[in-house]
């Protein structure tokens, strides 16, 4: 199945302009990622229109703030997950631990009087260390990442529960004030998310490392034949994804006055859902981060829409679950058709 995907296995190979990783034209001549982007934008617009018809006050600054706020941390985490999935690491089920561990490290550093400029790198490095631990087990044990991160996910949560019950950020710290602030009318933390997605997208398209990651994910044996060290790339992908998750943890600590170790669990599904909805296939080697930001936005709009429809918040879970099922169904159907 994977052999039919045209993958730029050679990092030095010329890349088509525009940076789209896979310009696999379909019958209408549109690249797959563009079609994904269009369909997600369409469904997103439908959701917004439907909500606005029922409740005209939906189109307000308040909704915009709520949606962009939800998007911020999920978006950064989705980039972290996307790095793992695109590079062929299947899935990282321990992202909630990564998030909370980094947030805890940041908050602890601040509570011990360290300056913000030190606390933020501490949070990011903690995320890298966690990713490194997962990477070590995966690479040296040659074990399936889903099983490894399943184990480190609930093992890590248990360790955190043993060591702390809840963590508070100092309410007067610079980071906390940053988390409360706004820039250009949107929450401050929205902008780092946008920067991460843009930088990540550019890195995948234009840097040697990014292309190698795609190559390793799309066709490992071809990548190996080209002299790419698979184990080093796999380890690096976990460290890189960990750093991004660490940044998400720093942002999370900035906007959450107090959190428990289990607070990360709610991000698990929206992140995996966003990645799959964005057409980043679990078989690896393809994906577009621009589509990812759209799918994060769409999924982040659902809870707000649900609230405006006057439904119980639990309906958001029902819709997100159903959407994920439909999205993977479409993804599977598409793979099946191209394989034929």
């Amino acid at each position: 199945m994977t052999t039919s995907l045209i993958t730029p296995a050679d990092p030095a190979a010329p890349q088509s302009p525009g940076g789209a990783k896979l310009r696999r034209p379909d019958s209408r001549g549109l690249p797959v990622s563009a079609r994904d982007a269009l369909s997600i934008t369409g469904v997103w617009a439908l959701l917004i229109i439907a909500t606005t018809i029922v409740r005209p006050d939906f189109l307000s600054t308040q909704s915009l703030l709520a949606v962009t706020f939800t998007m911020s941390i999920s978006g950064i985490l989705a980039v972290s997950q996307a790095i793992i999935v695109i590079s062929g690491g299947l899935l990282d089920l321990s992202l909630p631990v990564s998030l909370i561990l980094s947030a805890w490290a940041t908050v602890t550093a601040l509570n011990n009087g360290l300056p913000t400029a030190v606390a933020i790198p501490i949070g990011i490095v903690t995320g890298m260390a966690w990713g490194g631990l997962n990477g070590l087990i995966v690479v040296f044990g040659k074990l399936n990442p889903i099983i490894v991160t399943l184990a480190t996910g609930f093992g890590g949560l248990a360790v955190m529960l043993i060591f702390f019950k809840s963590a508070q950020i100092p309410s007067t710290s610079e980071l906390r004030l940053y988390g409360l602030g706004r820039f250009l009318g949107l929450p401050n933390i929205f902008w780092p998310m946008l920067i991460v997605i843009v930088l990540g997208g550019l890195a995948f398209a234009y840097t040697r490392w990014g292309r190698r990651l795609i190559a390793v994910g799309g066709n490992p044996s071809a990548a190996k034949a080209r002299g790419i060290n698979l184990r080093r790339m796999r380890f690096a992908s976990f460290i890189g994804a960990g750093a991004v998750a660490g940044l998400a943890g720093v942002m999370f600590s900035a906007v959450t006055p107090s959190f428990t170790p289990a607070a990360g669990a709610s991000f698990q599904l929206i992140v995996i859902g966003a990645v799959i909805l964005a057409g980043i296939s679990l078989s690896g080697g393809k994906g577009n981060l621009l589509v990812l930001v759209l799918s994060v936005g769409f999924l982040a709009t659902i809870p707000t829409s649900i609230a405006f429809f006057g439904l119980a918040p639990a309906w958001a879970l029902v819709f997100q679950g159903a959407l994920l099922i439909i999205a993977v169904g479409i993804d599977g159907y598409r793979l099946k058709r191209t394989a034929r």
């Binding site: 087990i137 044990g141 399936n144 480190t152 639990a314 159907y333």
Partner: protein, 333 residues
Amino acid sequence: MTATAPTLFDDPVVPPLRRILNSFRGPVGSISATLVVTLLVGLIWVGPSFFSPSNIQIVGVSVAIPLIVGVMASFALLAGVVDLSIGSMVGFGAVVFNQLVATGMNAWLVALITVGVGVVVGLTNAFVIVRFGAEPLAVTLGMLTLLRGLSQVVVVSAPPSTLIEPLYNVTQGAIAGFPTLLLIGIGVTLIAAGIVSKTRIGRKVQAVGGDDRAAARAGISVSKVRVIALVASSVGAAVGGILYVGQLGSASNVLGTGLEFQIYAALMIGGYSITRGGVGNPIGGLLGLLVVAGITNILNVTFTDPNYLDLITAIILVAAVLVDRFRGGDAFE
């Protein structure tokens, strides 16, 4: 009852003692060793009271429902499709059963409806996975969320309590010192083990999980086997939900959260794999669950922080898949 790869032809004649010893060479052997170690630790740390009837009752009651759910879910694993939605299905099944019984409907009819819900959920999973060839892990993760959401939509505040006399007797009673529910669970496990290792159906399931293309060439309907396996998994979870209502007398909207992780960790410790089908045996699953339940019990009795359980389970899980790989299981890359 060997846990090694299925043979399509009759095995050469092996003396009985050798046969028994051989069956311990696979995952069942290492998990038996782990169980013995767990029991020894229990005996040393807790003392003889670890094996007292009341303690066995406690362990038996706690392990029985996950065992029944796990054995049914193991058919899906064996067929090469993992069903992550079982924990939420247990919860949703329990919620449906509890709410409908509370309205005064006949309990048997309600049980039938609950099983019907399980069939519908299983068919939905199977439709998307088999018809569209979607990733089972992702589909059932979606179903996990959807069902959890539905449970929370149905049960907003305190759920009604129900007491169904015969169901309570089954779930809390004991026959000759052994919990009835555990005996039922062991019975289900033995029947499942017999199906897997002795019947054509079991071999078909193993073949589909091991290599679906080869199975298809051999004339086995891969889709049919996987649909049946996924429905079995959901129905098992629905039945588990009904039993939980019998045991607890109610069903909250968080019942069964994370149960799938415990069950799959135990099954993987017992020799199953969630990434490839065709391996594993219900007996191994039973032993895996007993190890986890034994550790839980030791921690409970010694008043240790229950969070250590998840940590220990995680370590054993990684160790188990590592041992499986050294034994010739698939390596990742």
